[in-house]
């Protein structure tokens, strides 16, 4: 009877139980949150472009914001949305906010409430209008090319949008001087194809890291003027607006998880190579 060989350390490592990997990831996230490392954050040109655009617009310019995400992407997109909104308020721009995802409006409402505590003078229907959610996706984008008040007869709070002071001056996508969209999926594609390109509105995007590569071709083609990508982008925007918050504090965790995966992949490859060598040696010895 053949003796069953005990798997070597290399083999055991390569077949590591996924639960061990999960535990290591959890530790890599949690430890830096408890004991921050304070790694430096460098602002990338694509984030700087979004900031500069909002900064350079004359006071009182019209900005459209679309928050197309839901609680799942909140950890990444909420901090950047808050930073950008804070910047818009500081520059006294007019802001209209739409949502294309049904579970997104409450997140925007929460963000507005938090910012209103910082800036009590920021007035609904005059400085901003929160248009809420409308069903239809790309169709809604086409429709706001015609009018906001037609597409969203009532705002999120149930008020008629028709007579609002802000809507009198800012009632169409084409009247926006700039647009910022926060995207967890491909609604950003629709905004570019059916909205901003048609109406010649410059647009910048805040996107989750997982969909960011999808938006980079637009940046090169100048169809997007800038991209705030993932939690790192959010941390960069927080640095620019000088209000370090959630994203900045999460940067160390993200770095640690990336480093962990880096080391795991490198080790797995080295061990896999060693295993191949070991098996070749064994085969030679058996011959």
């Amino acid at each position: 009877m053949e003796k069953v060989q005990k798997p070597s350390f290399i083999e055991r490592f390569l077949q590591l139980d996924r639960r061990i990997i999960y535990t290591l990831v959890a530790l890599a996230v949690a430890i830096p949150l408890l004991f921050p490392l304070g790694l430096p954050i460098k602002v990338t040109p694509e984030v700087q472009s979004v900031y500069d655009m909002i900064e350079d617009l004359p006071e009182g310019s019209n900005i459209l914001m679309s928050a197309d995400f839901d609680p799942a992407s909140m950890p990444e997109l909420y901090p950047m949305m808050k930073s950008v909104m804070r910047h818009i308020i500081r520059k006294h721009h007019k802001l209209a906010i739409t949502v294309l995802w049904p579970n997104g409006p409450n997140l925007v409402a929460q963000c507005i409430e938090e910012l209103k505590q910082e800036y009590p003078e920021w007035t609904n229907t005059v400085d901003y209008v929160f248009l809420g959610y409308q069903v239809g996706g790309a169709i809604v984008i086409i429709s706001v090319g015609d009018s906001f008040s037609g597409t969203f007869p009532k705002d999120y709070y149930g008020e008629s949008t028709d007579g609002m002071p802000i809507i009198k001056e800012f009632n169409q996508l084409g009247q926006a001087d700039y647009m910022v969209m926060f995207e967890a999926g491909n609604s950003g594609d629709w905004w570019i194809v059916y909205g901003t390109e048609v109406h010649d509105v410059p647009v910048g995007g805040g996107v989750t890291a997982v969909v960011a590569p999808m938006y980079y071709p637009y940046l090169q083609a100048k169809q997007l003027n800038g991209i705030i990508g993932g939690l790192k982008g959010a941390a960069e925007y927080e640095k620019l607006t000088d209000v370090p918050a959630l994203a900045t504090s999460a940067m160390d965790s993200q770095s640690m998880v990336h480093a962990l995966i880096f080391v795991a992949i490198v080790l797995a490859n080295i061990f896999a190579l060693m295993l191949v060598g070991q098996k070749r040696r064994q085969a030679r010895e058996e011959m």
Binding site: L16, R18, I21, Y22, L24, V25, A26, V29, L39, P40, I41, K42, T44, D70, P71, A72, S73, M74, P75, N103, N106, L107, A109, Q110, E113, Q134, V135, G136, I139, V140, I142, S143, D146, Y156, Y157, V210, P213, M214, Y216, P217, Q220, K232, M251, D252, Q254, S255, M256, V257, H258, A259, L260, I261, F262, A264, I265, V266, A268, N269, A272
Partner: protein, 210 residues
């Protein structure tokens, strides 16, 4: 009946497809009205489609409960959650501060965030198992992946400022070239499938076979 199931949808697809194509090149008022008119229709139709969804969901889960299939308890929870959310939403609305708003903030948001967060664990485990340099091409991909992964977070900047520059170069050049190739191919394929649908060559989507 056969006409309504087979020929009429094809005719409708042809007329509407051609009308929308021509409209792209006609900037007149009539064309604009037609376009925005259709978008209004579409919003209404999409709104009504929610009824199908609700009926299907309830039917599916009620069947499970009726037949007492394994795990039917989950179906009971689904039905109850569905009904109570509708009732609370209708009575108090769904804004923050209302009971439905409370459920949203303290149940829905954490559950969603949890689902999204599992991605970090799955990425780590999938990368560990599958990211192996078995060929030279795979080795090139592996190296590029490692550089981008480390170069796009502050720790990369901390190790060397060149890492992030190189990572950006990889994203903006070789990676972008690959993406563009896929996007162009997909766009052409989409035009071809549109032509097939408009001219009634592709009809599987109507559910009637070929």
């Amino acid at each position: 009946m056969q006409f309504l199931r087979k020929q009429f949808p094809v005719m409708l697809a042809f007329v509407m497809g051609m009308a929308m194509f021509i409209r792209e090149f006609v900037p007149s008022k009539f064309s604009e009205q037609l376009y925005y008119g259709f978008t209004d229709w579409a919003i209404v139709i999409v709104g009504f489609s929610a009824v199908f969804a609700i009926l299907s969901l309830l039917h599916h889960h009620m069947n499970k409960v009726r037949r007492r299939v394994e795990g039917y308890g989950y179906s009971v929870i689904t039905i109850l959650a569905f009904i109570q959310m509708i009732i609370l939403g209708l009575i108090f609305s769904v804004r923050p501060g209302t009971p439905a708003g409370w459920e949203y903030q303290w149940l829905f948001v954490p559950m969603q965030a949890t689902m999204f967060a599992t991605l970090a664990f799955f990425i780590a485990s999938a990368a560990f198992r599958a990211f192996r340099a078995r060929t030279w091409e795979a080795l090139a991909l592996l190296l590029a992946g490692l550089i981008v992964m480390i170069g796009r977070v502050p720790i990369g900047e901390f190790i060397s400022p060149h890492l992030s520059t190189f990572s950006d170069w990889i994203m903006n050049n070789p990676s972008m070239a690959g993406f563009r190739g896929i996007i162009l191919g997909v766009a052409l394929a989409q035009i071809a499938i549109s032509v097939r649908i408009i001219f009634g060559i592709e009809r599987t989507y109507m559910g009637g076979g070929d």
